[in-house]
């Protein structure tokens, strides 16, 4: 009898300690996932989320970056901004740059991808060749093209002179400079885009083309009705990502044109840089930043909306 009781009490003891141990264990189990994401999350909060709110806050002040005093001016920065013809010129440049870059890069990569679709040795080599600009840093590319586009000794002018065309001032002519920057951007992104489009072309089942052939579809109909809809999620993805990155163009301008000539290549991010770190008008620069934030947010929302609805795999 006594023996039994000890047995029971020792059993309960054991269960109690077990429960205690389990409780500690389950708390850790709950915390664990948060502990794992904490480092990444805190970096994200400090360097992405906080600056986004900080810039909205700063846009309401007049401040020169160094003085301890900040004057609260409300929406005055925005009022000034929307009365500043230079800002609209900047916005126009940015939009023109984006539309041209994305349009050209996308159509060029679609064309190249279709051309390179057949997996031959030559095509594989060409793929790598057109992809290579993507891995070079934009700063190096800018210097490279600065030489290529030199109006006196540049390679581009040499080439066109062979066709009897006179010298072009690629970066000095206000009517040409922005297009020169577009050319560089297309040159850099087209290879990457081609690769992505190519990948999506290659996963279209061969059977669909065979079925279309038996369905009397000519090449154009096949492209319009089968190829294009099948790769549309990819094209959509590239378009949005490229729009966002084109809106943020900076390096080429900073290195090659400094926003000139006559403001012809001044864009939103470059204006932010100039107002912020050349003229020390932090509040004004921040208000431009907020405008950029809004524009990019719109495209980001579009992107996620599209991602949810446009994907249609079997």
């Amino acid at each position: 009898m006594l023996k039994n009781e000890t047995a029971i009490s020792s059993m309960t003891n054991k269960t109690v300690s077990d429960v205690r141990k389990n409780a500690g264990h389950s708390v850790w189990k709950k915390i664990k996932p948060y502990a794992f994401v904490a480092p990444a999350l805190s970096i994200f909060l400090i360097f992405s989320i906080y600056p986004a709110f900080r810039i909205i806050d700063l846009s309401l002040y007049q401040w020169n970056l160094v003085s301890p005093a900040k004057d609260f001016v409300g929406f005055q920065n925005y009022v000034n901004l929307f009365h500043d013809p230079e800002f609209f010129e900047t916005l126009r440049n940015t939009i023109l740059y984006t539309v041209l870059t994305v349009g050209l890069s996308l159509s060029l990569s679609l064309f190249l991808a279709i051309y390179l679709k057949n997996d031959t040795r030559v095509n594989r080599f060409l793929q790598r060749l057109i992809f290579s600009p993507y891995i070079v840093s934009l700063a190096s590319i800018s210097f490279l093209w600065l030489w290529l586009m030199n109006s006196d000794v540049g390679f581009l002018n040499y080439i066109i002179s062979l066709f009897g065309i006179g010298k072009v001032d690629w970066l000095g002519n206000p009517h040409v400079a922005l297009f020169s920057l577009v050319l560089i951007s297309v040159w850099k992104t087209a290879g990457y885009n081609t690769l992505i489009v190519l990948a999506s072309l290659q996963v279209i089942p061969k059977h669909l083309y065979e079925a279309a052939a038996l369905d009397h579809a000519n090449q154009w109909r096949t492209f319009r009705k089968i190829t294009l809809p099948m790769i549309s999620p990819t094209l959509f993805f590239i378009t949005i990502v490229d729009i966002i990155s084109s809106f943020k163009v900076f390096e080429t301008i900073q290195i090659m044109t400094d926003g000139g000539p006559q403001n012809a290549t001044n864009t939103l991010v470059f204006a932010i840089y100039e107002y912020g770190f050349k003229f020390y008008k932090i509040g004004y620069a921040s208000s431009i930043g907020v405008v950029l934030l809004v524009i990019i947010s719109i495209f980001t929302i579009l992107y996620f909306r599209g991602l949810a609805s446009k994907v249609h795999y079997q």
């Binding site: 059977h207 669909l208 065979e210 038996l214 000519n218 249609h312 795999y313 079997q314």
Partner: protein, 346 residues
């Protein structure tokens, strides 16, 4: 009229890989011809050559007396149902069915009438505005059929169209295809690796292996009168029992050239006791496994001559490891020579 004839057809993808060496085949008009064989036997290639999706390396393909080698797929007046249906995923069911008609510039009203007809046949009316992704396997299958039927082709080509369906649906669609063929009276060419499908649907079976036709006959003929061991063992389930009889004691009822002897598991009978007879072959052995199929039971028996399977319709199950005595009537035996070709008893 749409008879399909292959005349010394050859298909090679490159100099090393010849899929079909020399194919001579007549597919009669209005037949339900099933090309059957193990994977890699060339049956799909043959079908795709009829469709024009593969070209002939040599020889001739004739349809309705007209040479087809150079005719483009869309001009062959055929329709094809693919193994994975190949529905256009970005189009609705209606657009899928309509695509070929629009491409052929058939006027809108006529299109609508054609679609309405075909949709009724395959019972898809309520799904016309759905995307293929929203449909079940069976429904997709019917869309694929509708897309083929709406073109009113002279020949239907089907490449394992039922292999992506579950067993029950497969049986159902099998019946529907037989009915469809009966109603349309057009030529069906159907590819499968499943001999049950071939047996149950075909009017003509073309049995292939390694790019060669091993036998072409009506299902019942190929089952009862196989020309070679391959045909004997490929058709019918479970496969025909086959024994190498070179070492067996002389038996005057066995043809002289015979090296192999086979008999169907369904022709094996249980015997009460061994009775030496000229008309029978006796086997004694131990039951290894039994499989219960409802109406029948299949046993595998280990005998001195090797393992044989037999099929009974008796209700009582025999226990494992039981010693049994079985026999097969001599008239139910098939003999084959060294080259595995049939030796017919005179």
């Amino acid at each position: 009229m749409s008879e399909i004839v292959f005349f010394h057809a050859k298909k090679a993808y490159d100099s090393k890989k010849t899929v079909i060496e020399d194919l001579n085949l007549v597919i009669p008009d209005g037949s339900f011809t099933v090309l059957v064989g193990p994977s890699g036997c060339g049956k799909s290639t043959t079908l795709r050559m009829i469709a024009g999706l593969e070209s002939l390396s040599d020889g001739e393909l004739v349809m309705d007396g007209r040479r087809m080698n150079e005719v483009a797929p869309e001009d062959r007046d055929i329709a094809m149902v693919f193994q994975n249906f190949a529905l256009y995923p970005t189009m609705t069911v209606r657009e899928n069915i309509e695509f070929g008609l629009v491409n052929k510039k058939i006027p809108r009203e006529e299109r609508q009438k054609l679609i309405a007809d075909v949709v009724e046949t395959v019972r898809l009316a309520e799904y016309l505005d759905k995307n293929p992704g929203e449909l079940s396997g069976g429904q997709r299958q019917r869309v694929a059929l509708a897309r083929a039927m709406v073109k009113k082709p002279k020949v239907f080509l089907m490449d394992e169209p039922l292999s992506n369906l579950d067993a029950r649906l497969r049986n159902e669609m099998r019946t529907e295809l037989i009915e469809l063929h009966k109603r349309l009276q057009t030529t069906f060419v159907y590819v499968t690796h499943d001999q049950t499908e071939a047996m149950s649907m075909a009017t003509d079976i073309v049995l292939m292996s390694n790019g060669v036709i091993r036998q072409k006959d009506a299902p019942i003929k190929i089952y009862n009168d196989p020309n070679n061991i391959f045909a004997a063992q490929f058709i019918g389930t479970p496969a025909m029992n086959m024994f190498d009889i070179r070492e067996w004691p002389q038996h005057n009822s066995i043809p002289e050239q015979a090296r192999y002897m086979g008999f169907r598991p369904s022709r094996v009978h249980l015997a009460q006791e061994a009775t030496a007879s000229m008309d029978k072959m006796d086997f004694q052995g131990r039951i290894l496994t039994h499989e219960f199929f409802g109406s029948e039971i299949i046993y595998r028996v280990e005998t001195d001559n090797g393992i044989l399977s037999f099929k009974t319709f008796h209700k009582d199950e025999l226990p494992l490891d039981m010693e049994v005595q079985v026999y097969v009537e001599k008239r139910d035996c098939y003999f084959f020579d060294d080259k595995q070709n049939r030796v017919r008893c005179s």
